[in-house]
Symmetry: C2
Amino acid sequence: MRHTTQEKEEYIVPLDEIEIINYAKRFFTRATGGHKVALGIGDDCASLRPAAGHEVLVSTDTLAEAVHFLRDLSAPEDIGAKSVHTAVSDIAAMGGRPLALLLSINLHEADRGWIGAYLRGAGKAAREVGAPIVGGNVSAAAALSFTVTALGEVKKGFRVDRSGARPGDAVYITGHPGESALGLDLLTERKSKYTPSQKRLIHRHILPTPRLEWGRMLAERQIPSAMIDVSDGVTLDFRRMIQASGAGGRIWLDKIPISEDARKVIGKNSRESVLQKMVTGGEDYELLFTVRPAREARLERLIKTGKIEATRIGDITGEKGKLEIFGKEGKKVDFKVEGWLHS
Amino acid sequence: MRHTTQEKEEYIVPLDEIEIINYAKRFFTRATGGHKVALGIGDDCASLRPAAGHEVLVSTDTLAEAVHFLRDLSAPEDIGAKSVHTAVSDIAAMGGRPLALLLSINLHEADRGWIGAYLRGAGKAAREVGAPIVGGNVSAAAALSFTVTALGEVKKGFRVDRSGARPGDAVYITGHPGESALGLDLLTERKSKYTPSQKRLIHRHILPTPRLEWGRMLAERQIPSAMIDVSDGVTLDFRRMIQASGAGGRIWLDKIPISEDARKVIGKNSRESVLQKMVTGGEDYELLFTVRPAREARLERLIKTGKIEATRIGDITGEKGKLEIFGKEGKKVDFKVEGWLHS
């Protein structure tokens, strides 16, 4: 409910809640119908039936205009997909399976075409991760933003928290962290042409992949002692993990895996400064996890057989809260900024 | 993750995510500890253990500055409480019990004191409704808003949807709808002094009560055939109910219950125009529900023994989608606006 006609005037958008809900239903109902959704869009609440013997995971994430996206740099379909991907990434980090999503839209200066494209992107991503959009909210606001709440399920006893790391554990990262940061740099150069390698890195920023299958596989085999998804940079999220675990940790920059595409883009730039950027840049959504020594062989077999891409980049120490980063020839590196906040 | 230092400059607030999370933990951990919360604030997800044989209800609601609240008209504690109350009202409308809440804050030009007071209000309300705040998100944004996601549980077979109304059902409303609209009018007059009656109506706007106990009691006794909470006005939410039910409906304005305080405030104003305002004004969060003839006696007993305040205001007809409002001497009333949108 708004205050008065006068006060709300400037926030009027050429779309109303019912129109968007009807629009959303068209896109989203195809995604519904799983036997776990007892009631989808259109009532006061959605209702879910998680599997017996499972816990219900829940997490929420916001993409705000000018902070997390710029309309002239990202297509609305991609912003829609990214808002789904970043939310389900938290489910992946617990070893869970997504059940359903809620989408809250703060509307501001967005026309039918743009919102329609956003909803198409969000709906397609929801289908791809197997989590129907079962509800949400549409509100006028003084700024455009999207909040996605992801619900998931995980078998009791198989949930992986960020607090389980212990001294002596090995530290692993999936995929290639830092590519999103390199991609963002390329994107903000606003070039008219990009090489294929550059394009792939830009795509990694625009639409990061939530590591749902890897997260679940690791959790089901009880390999990780702790796990977190890297949203704000490897170093900052690693610090969060060691703090939650009451432990310390070390990372070796020269262990950070670098893809061929990244190598081409980095070129002759000082490798260490680029690596620092790569481990402090956010929005990778790779999984950072720790493994007890007795479970490492099991993980290494999965890596060798190509079932997961993961690289050992450090280890857990007993020095509570102490984070050490080692660069060239084992020299310690001091970071001014460990990562991205407000993300 | 933000785009560049330059672009984000104007959105900087004197609070960062970690500070707010730490602050929130202080307020909110006292609310946690229910055996149904397996994991609270501080990890990638929260994790819940709903009771066996129950479905999981979920709903989300946003309060945006300048649209749903004005900082000079509402205290931050009240905005905090209201953002919790409006979210759990949707759980009440399904006959459910709140389990937990997620709070997402879009930060914009809010200082420590204001946000601290907001969090205190939200935390207190969360404790009062028995639903701990188990997680959320903090993001910089170009406008201040709060999105609360409420999770609840309801025993299988006892959920009350809005779609179950059938011709011949009686239509009931709890409490006194329209008091929030009268209160908002009084509030926007910005008087320096208000009478006690005026103050109570203003309070009904500033902090509406979610009807959790009534909703659950009705559902447990299987009294309602359909139920919805009135967020956007009795007429608009009644229309939503009859549309979802594939039925029609009638309301008699002179059946709308009017409290002594409201009577004093209305004074000599034309009763019918005030009543129209009262049934189209939003944010009552009363429960609008329908009852099969065979169950009405059961409900009337609850009303007589003071277990619930509810009044019969209309009935359900077979004319699909047709909503009729009757005023003085049974004359039909045509409304220009049925209720509030974008809320």
